[in-house]
Amino acid sequence: MNFDKELNARGLSCPLPIVKTKKALADMTTGQVLKVISTDVGSVKDMQAFADQTGNTLVSTAEENGEFIFFMKKK
C-alpha cells in the first residue's frame, strides 16, 4: 500500500505508539496515509480505538514477523 510517511514505533510501549501517531499525523494533510510499525501487542486495539475516536481511518492492520503494521489515513 502507498503511504506518505512512516513511523517506526518498534520497541515502544503504551501510550507512545498512539501519542507518536497523533504527532506524526499533525503535520500531514487530509487524505495522506501514515504507515506505523509497532511491536506492542496492545497497539492493535489502541490504534483502532484511536481511529474511532479521532475520525482518522485505519485502512488496514497486519501482523508480519511479530510486528504490527498499520495504515492510517488522515481525516
Binding site: 510501549s13 498512539i18 484511536f50 475516536q53
Partner: protein, 156 residues
Amino acid sequence: MTTKKMAIIATKGTLDMAYPPFILASTAAALGYDVQIFFTFYGLQLLRKDLSDVMISPLANPAMPMPVPMPVMVQMLPGMESMATMMMKQKLKKHGVASLEELRDLCLEADVKFIACQMTVDLFEFDKSEFIENVEYGGAAMFFGFAGETDICLFV
C-alpha cells in the same frame, strides 16, 4: 463535535503512581481531549524540574513484584529504596515504557494543563523555582471550573 474533556487529580509522588496520570493525560490529549491535571499533596513532586527523587519503595507495597521474596525487615535496610527504584527504571526501559520526564514533556507538548495546588505548595513550603515553568497555581474552586465540565474525572 464538542471537544471532550478530562481532569485528573494527581495526589501521589512515587514512581509507580506517577505513571498513570501522565499516561492517561498524554493518551487523552492524543485522542483530542482537552486535559488538565491538578497536582496536590505528594503529587506536587511530579512537577519538579528534577524527577530523580521520584522513587518506588517495596515497603508497605506487598503487591510489588519482587525478583526474590523479601522480608519486610530487609526492605527497611538503607539503600533498598534506591535499589528498587533503579530496578524498576531498568524494567520500564527494557519494556519500552517512556520515562516520566518524556511522558511529562509529551503532555506539555500536547497542551495538557498542569495546575499546582497552591495550598499544598504553601503547606510543604515548596520552592516554586524547583518546579517546571508550565504550571499554573490555583485552588480547588479553580479546578472545579474545569472539572465540572469534564467527561472523565479521575483521582489518582
